[in-house]
């Protein structure tokens, strides 16, 4: 988690609230903060999304370029996901190459999209073994108020849904919408004193024992998972987290993605 300094009083406060079944901002354990999602906010990008999850703000841009495929998948496009924890987003963030937190979150986002088969990569092949489309998903964190992970992956899939393959610009045929088959949604929960709660805010993230992210798809299957943070998780809590996450993911999908 972050290294932000937390007073013991604050930790106790959040813990005691948990014992009463409450959270600092009045939410229930399975309640996600308000989401404001806007797509196509950057005209120069092939697809983009601006997302506000509570106070957390993230901008995701998708760019496509022509490049060479990997030798082990000559007929498939390539996805490259990176995240920048921009210093404007938090006093804790520093400029420079991505550190382990940013790398981890970018890779979890990447795995969710890749493993769910959300993008039909075989349609992104121009000439087999020579030219394919490379999709760059760049996640810029603008304000960190907790749960960057979920905001990123929701922003990423929203940006992908609006993206076009710039065939004309690159002289590779017509512009077509990016072939999207699935909508993986990540839901992150934290374990605080033995209770799991979704969508942690910054304080909850800082005091939690551990954090678990679950990426699920339209058909309810799970395509990615990651435990993060110093604590351990019991099997019971984990399974509870998984079912809560799958349910929340389908709600998010319905309210925010289906009409894009």
């Amino acid at each position: 988690m972050s290294n932000e300094v937390m007073s013991i009083l604050k930790k106790d406060y959040i813990y005691n609230l948990m014992l009463k079944g409450k959270r600092e901002d009045g939410r229930t354990f399975d309640e996600i903060r308000d989401i404001d999602l806007r797509t196509n906010v950057i005209e120069k990008a092939e697809g983009s999304a601006w997302i506000k999850l509570g106070e957390t703000e993230i901008l995701v841009g998708v760019k496509l370029q022509v490049g060479t495929p990997f030798p082990d998948s000559p007929g498939e496009g390539v996805i490259i996901t990176s995240m920048e924890l921009n210093p404007i987003a938090s006093p804790e963030f520093e400029a420079g190459p991505p550190k382990e937190n940013a790398i981890e979150m970018a890779r979890v986002t990447d795995r969710g999209i890749r493993e769910s088969g959300a993008i039909d990569l075989s349609k992104l092949c121009i000439t087999e073994g020579e030219e394919v489309w490379i999709i760059f998903i760049d996640i810029h964190v603008l304000n960190n108020s907790g749960n960057i992970q979920d905001a990123s992956s929701l922003g990423a899939i929203a940006a992908l849904l609006t993206a076009t393959v710039p065939g004309k610009r690159e002289g590779r045929g017509e512009d077509i919408p990016l072939p999207i088959r699935d909508m993986p949604i990540s839901v992150t929960l934290v374990d605080i004193g033995g209770e799991v709660m979704v969508d942690p805010d910054l304080d909850e993230e800082n005091v939690c024992d551990c954090r678990i992210t679950i990426v699920s798809n339209q058909d309810g299957s799970i395509s990615g998972m990651q435990k993060s943070g110093d604590g351990a998780l019991t099997e019971e809590k984990l399974l509870q987290a998984v079912s809560m996450a799958c349910q929340k993911a389908s709600e998010l999908r319905e309210t925010h993605l289906l009409d894009i």
């Binding site: 490049g67 060479t68 990997f70 030798p71 082990d72 998948s73 390539v78 996805i79 490259i80 996901t81 990176s82 920048e84 921009n86 210093p87 400029a95 420079g96 190459p97 991505p98 382990e100 937190n101 790398i103 981890e104 970018a106 890779r107 990447d110 795995r111 890749r114 493993e115 769910s116 088969g117 490379i134 551990c210 678990i212 798809n217 309810g220 299957s221 799970i222 395509s223 990615g224 998972m225 990651q226 435990k227 993060s228 943070g229 110093d230 604590g231 351990a232 998780l233 019991t234 099997e235 984990l238 399974l239 998984v242 079912s243 799958c246």
Partner: protein
């Protein structure tokens, strides 16, 4: 390299390398293999060859990194350039940075860091040869190396992966299963079954996931036994042998050369280093007590026959499928940035 096997599981329910669905690959461990390290462990698991070393608790520089109330754990997972089919560029990659982070977090719940404020405990896990499941193998080795270093821990950590091939869950993926399977779920847990590492990619249902945890638990129980037995062999021997008797220092090169042909049972006592690896005498007392308790707890049990039970059958490792292994990076949980420097922008070198 699209030589995906047609079937991963035959009509008898056996996998490509002859294992049953819930069987782990043969595992062999040796501790105290490095004379300078405070604790070390060499592990062979299938074709994986891992060397783990622990240094510390020792002074941490720069001082601003010191934690006033606990020791800092640093975990470095590193793959040797020659450990996979196609050479990988040495040094940290995005993949290895992520693995190092989650592996460190897998140990945080058990290592009693509060006993050594202001210090660092360095854990180095070197993958000398990779063949699917290196992060779990590295954790198993590191766990024993920590115990060997006498770091007080609430218990050991064992780790193994569950995957899905041909629509069925299998324990401890081998290379083809890892490359072409439908899911890969590496986990690490304490002996109480608390999960300290969990990653997943692929596609499973909630029910399958539930079953995967159970399978993984089974696998980890077997690994705990191997880990404990390894420790027991060294530390029970310490009791009846004079330290000065030790002349047979294990050479790592011979360890690496010797393949898995000999199962754990075959190693005689002479292959174990009896050596005083403690540099810090102040630590000794703590160490010995800790180890002793662990060992004595288990000493009541009848070790012999039980051990037999937990050692999976030796498998012929020189099968064709094994030879056709893909490189580790492209098959593992991964983005392809690592494979090809031409396409991938090197994020690590980027400035804001």
């Amino acid at each position: 390299m699209s030589d995906k096997p047609e079937k991963f599981i035959d009509e008898n329910g056996l996998r490509l390398d002859g294992r049953r669905l819930n069987e782990i690959r043969p595992m062999k461990m040796e501790i105290g293999v490095l004379s300078r390290a405070d604790g070390s462990c060499y592990l062979e698991w299938g074709k994986n060859k891992i060397l783990a070393a622990v240094y510390g608790p020792r002074e941490l520089h720069p001082r601003r990194l010191q934690k006033s109330d606990s020791a800092l754990i640093r975990y470095r997972y590193n793959m040797a350039a020659f450990s996979v089919e196609d050479r990988i560029r040495p040094g940290p990659s995005r993949r290895s940075i992520e693995i190092s982070k989650v592996s460190r977090e897998a140990f945080e719940p058990v290592v009693m860091t509060q006993l050594y404020p202001g210090t660092v405990i360095d854990v180095f896990a070197e993958v000398l040869q990779a063949d699917a499941g290196t992060r779990t193998a590295a954790i198993n080795a590191a766990s024993v190396a920590l115990a060997d270093a006498g770091i007080p821990m609430k218990g050991l950590i064992a780790s193994c992966a569950v995957g899905k091939v041909d629509g069925q869950l299998v324990l401890d993926l081998d290379k083809p299963e890892d490359n072409y399977g439908d899911a890969d779920i590496p986990m690490a847990m304490t002996s109480d079954g608390e999960i300290t590492l969990l990653q997943m990619d692929g596609d499973v249902t909630q029910e399958e996931f539930k079953k995967a945890i159970e399978m993984c638990k089974e696998g980890c129980l077997q690994i705990f036994e191997i880990q404990k037995e390894t420790l027991r062999q060294k530390f029970t021997k310490l009791d009846d042998v004079e330290i000065s008797d030790d002349e047979d220092n294990v050479d790592i090169s011979t360890l690496v050369e010797n393949s898995l042909e000999s199962s754990v049972d075959d190693e005689g006592e002479d292959s174990i280093v009896v050596e005083d690896t403690e540099d810090d005498p102040g630590q000794d007392i703590e160490v010995e007590e800790d180890q002793d308790i662990e060992i004595e707890d288990e000493a009541d049990e009848d070790i012999g026959p039980e051990k037999e039970e937990f050692i999976p059958e030796a498998v012929d490792l020189d099968t064709d499928q094994e030879d056709a292994e893909d490189i580790e990076v492209s098959g593992d949980i991964d983005d392809p940035c690592l494979v090809d420097g031409d396409i991938a922008p090197e994020d690590d070198g980027r400035t804001a």
